[in-house]
Amino acid sequence: MLQTNLEHIESKERLKELIENNEKVAVCCGRMGPMCIPVYDIFEILQGNYPDIQFRDMDFDIPAAAMIKDLPECRGFWGLPFTIYYRNGKIVKATSSIQTAKQVKSVIDEVFA
């Protein structure tokens, strides 16, 4: 169970619905670990700055997380969290392990501009 102030995705259906109905979606899939917490926090801060982007998190250990773990884009990812950026329902970027605010903002500028 993630203890963050982000909206959690708890089912495959919810993730599917979210990416189908929103142009820009960012999902951080991880645990309450040292590499994941900073990324959730950065998402929480940035959601105020980027109201057009849907920032969410997802517990890595729930069955629905298979939708992220099994992505071809995540093949070879061996570090939490897995962070996926969707635009118009398609994956436009996937990152593994901790990211700084600067790196997250850079990805956002790159894929959601």
């Binding site: 203890q3 991880g30 645990r31 309450m32 670990g33 040292p34 590499m35 994941c36 917490i37 900073p38 926090d41 950065i42 929480e44 801060i45 940035l46 700055n49 070879g76 990812f77 061996w78 570090g79 939490l80 990152t95 593994s96 392990s97 901790i98 700084t100 605010a101 600067k102 997250v104 903002k105």
Partner: protein, 308 residues
Amino acid sequence: MQKFDVIIIGAGPAGLAAAIYTSRAALSTLVIDESSAGGQVKTTHQVANYPGFVEPIAGHELAANMRKQSEKYSTKFKLAADITALRLRDQEKWVELDEGDKYTAKFVIIATGSSPRLLNIPGEQEYKGSGVSYCATCDAEFYKDRDIFVIGGGNSAMEESLLLLQFVKSITVIHQFDELQAEKITADKVTMNPKVNILWSHEPRAFYKKGNKMVVEAENLKTNKRIRLERDGIFIFVGLVPNSAFLKNTLIQLTKHGYIITGPQMETNIRGVYAAGDIRDKKHRQITIAVGDGTIAALVLCPQNKVC
């Protein structure tokens, strides 16, 4: 341009403790951090030695409480913000952020702490999260029954190795010295484990990927001879570095390692600029000490400002 009484750079325990005190003293206070609030505490699994908590408290929870407490007294925050320009020498100091806004204050407290040291060698950034890791708690299970490298021989390297040993098939420790720097009791637990071998007096020079394997090119520091070894992953624990790079053109006096030199009142060599927490040159680095530093810096400001 927005004016505050105090700008605190860094939102770890030192910065947040200072903010609680300055805000309670009715000094308008802005806290700036390039990340979120909490510093290294927010990434600490459990904190068991912070007074007032009978049971260990999750680091992220303690950090969140500190932030909420300072917000309660009207501290303002600019988080996930990079400093693009900084002037500390004048009586009115100013900070410019990446979003273009500029903030001024008579007093600045620097509490930017320290971060895990990177090796800064080819392949390190490229393979972060896909063969290179900095966190056993987070990533150990990806390496279940696999062979890995651990880079480093200090306390954190050995403590993390103990956790990794519960998962992996073998660990090859690569260490630059002839002996481990970690506390003997922890080091012995690692070295006596049959799954561990140590490559002494070697330093990694580059990481490569070969199929699914990670390759470390390591240099023997005595012979300068390089070797290449393959394993499934690399965990790096090589200490901390002060977050002081942004101060390089400010005339703040730093040690050769980049820590800020302060006096007993946390004052730096620049009038009106203070430093608190792990960024200071000092012997011990603990959450409680950081909180004490931040408190002292804040209390020193109050009489100068004639508010409290």
